[in-house]
C-alpha cells in the first residue's frame, strides 16, 4: 500500500461523494412516490444505492451500482385512473415515504460523520505542522 499522509482526506471524500449520491437516489424515490407510469406502463420502481469497497487498498467507498427494489407494487382502487386495470385497480410505486425519510436521515448523518473525520484529520496535520515552529 502506498503511504500517503493525505490519504485519509481522499477516503473521507469518497464517503462524502457516496452519501451525496445516496441522497440523490433517495430524492428520486421521494419525488416519484406517486408516479404511476414510467413510460412503459409500469409504475416507478424504487431504487437503492449499493456501496462497495476494496479492503485491500483501503481507498474508501464506491457507489457505482444502483439496484432496483424488486418488491411487488402495491395496488389501490381508483377506477377513473388512466392506468387502472379492468377491475379498477392501479399499481403504485413500491416507495414507502417513512422508509425514505429514515434513509435520508441515515445518509445525512453519514455525510456529517465524514465531514467530521475530514475536519479532525485536518486539525491533526496542523498540529504536526506546529512542531515546525
Amino acid at each position: 500500500m502506498e503511504i500517503n499522509s493525505l490519504n485519509p482526506i481522499d477516503i473521507s471524500l469518497s464517503g462524502l461523494q457516496a452519501q451525496s449520491k445516496n441522497i440523490e437516489i433517495i430524492s428520486s424515490n421521494v419525488a416519484n412516490a406517486q408516479s404511476t407510469n414510467n413510460g412503459n406502463g409500469q409504475p416507478y420502481r424504487r431504487i437503492e444505492a449499493e456501496m462497495t469497497t476494496n479492503t485491500e487498498n483501503m481507498d474508501g467507498v464506491n457507489l457505482d451500482n444502483i439496484i432496483e427494489d424488486m418488491s411487488e407494487f402495491p395496488t389501490i382502487f381508483k377506477p377513473g385512473h388512466p392506468s387502472a386495470d379492468e377491475r379498477g385497480y392501479v399499481k403504485v410505486p413500491n416507495v414507502t415515504l417513512p422508509t425514505e425519510m429514515m434513509n435520508l436521515n441515515i445518509a445525512a448523518r453519514a455525510y456529517q460523520a465524514n465531514t467530521a473525520v475530514l475536519k479532525r484529520y485536518q486539525q491533526m496535520v496542523e498540529t504536526t505542522l506546529e512542531l515546525l515552529r
Binding site: I9, L13, Q17, L118, V125, L129, L132, R133
Partner: protein
C-alpha cells in the same frame, strides 16, 4: 542523492504551484453549474519529482507547472464533471501543503538567524 538546489528555491516553486492550484480550484467551483465544463488540476508533484531525479542539477525556473483536465470524476447529465466535495477536499489538501511549505521556510529563516547570533 543531494542536489545543489537551494532549499529556498524548492519551497518557492512549491508555493507558486500551490497558489496556481488554488486558482484552478476557484475556477472549478465557479463553474460548478456550467454545462460541458471539465475540471482542471495542476500537475506539479510529478514534474518536480522527475526534475529532482535527473542526475544534473536542475534549474527550478524551468520546472513548469502544468494545467490539465484529469477527467477522473463522474460526468453529470449536463456534461459537467465538477463535484463540490472533490474541490473542497483538494482545497483542504492544498491548504495543508501550503502551510507545510510556509512553515519550512519559516524554520529555515530561524536557522539562519540562529547562526548569525553565534559570535
Amino acid at each position: 542523492m543531494s542536489k545543489v538546489n537551494d532549499i529556498f528555491d524548492v519551497i518557492e516553486v512549491g508555493i507558486r504551484a500551490e497558489s496556481l492550484r488554488q486558482q484552478t480550484i476557484a475556477n472549478n467551483v465557479a463553474n460548478l453549474q456550467t454545462p460541458g465544463y471539465h475540471r482542471v488540476d495542476v500537475k506539479f508533484q510529478d514534474v518536480l519529482a522527475k526534475a529532482m531525479e535527473s542526475s544534473e542539477p536542475v534549474d527550478l525556473d524551468n520546472v513548469e507547472t502544468e494545467v490539465y483536465c484529469p477527467n477522473e470524476t463522474q460526468v453529470k447529465s449536463n456534461g459537467n464533471d465538477v463535484s463540490l466535495e472533490t474541490e473542497v477536499g483538494q482545497m483542504v489538501k492544498n491548504n495543508l501543503r501550503h502551510k507545510t511549505y510556509v512553515r519550512l521556510l519559516q524554520k529555515k529563516y530561524q536557522q539562519i538567524e540562529l547562526a548569525m547570533n553565534i559570535k
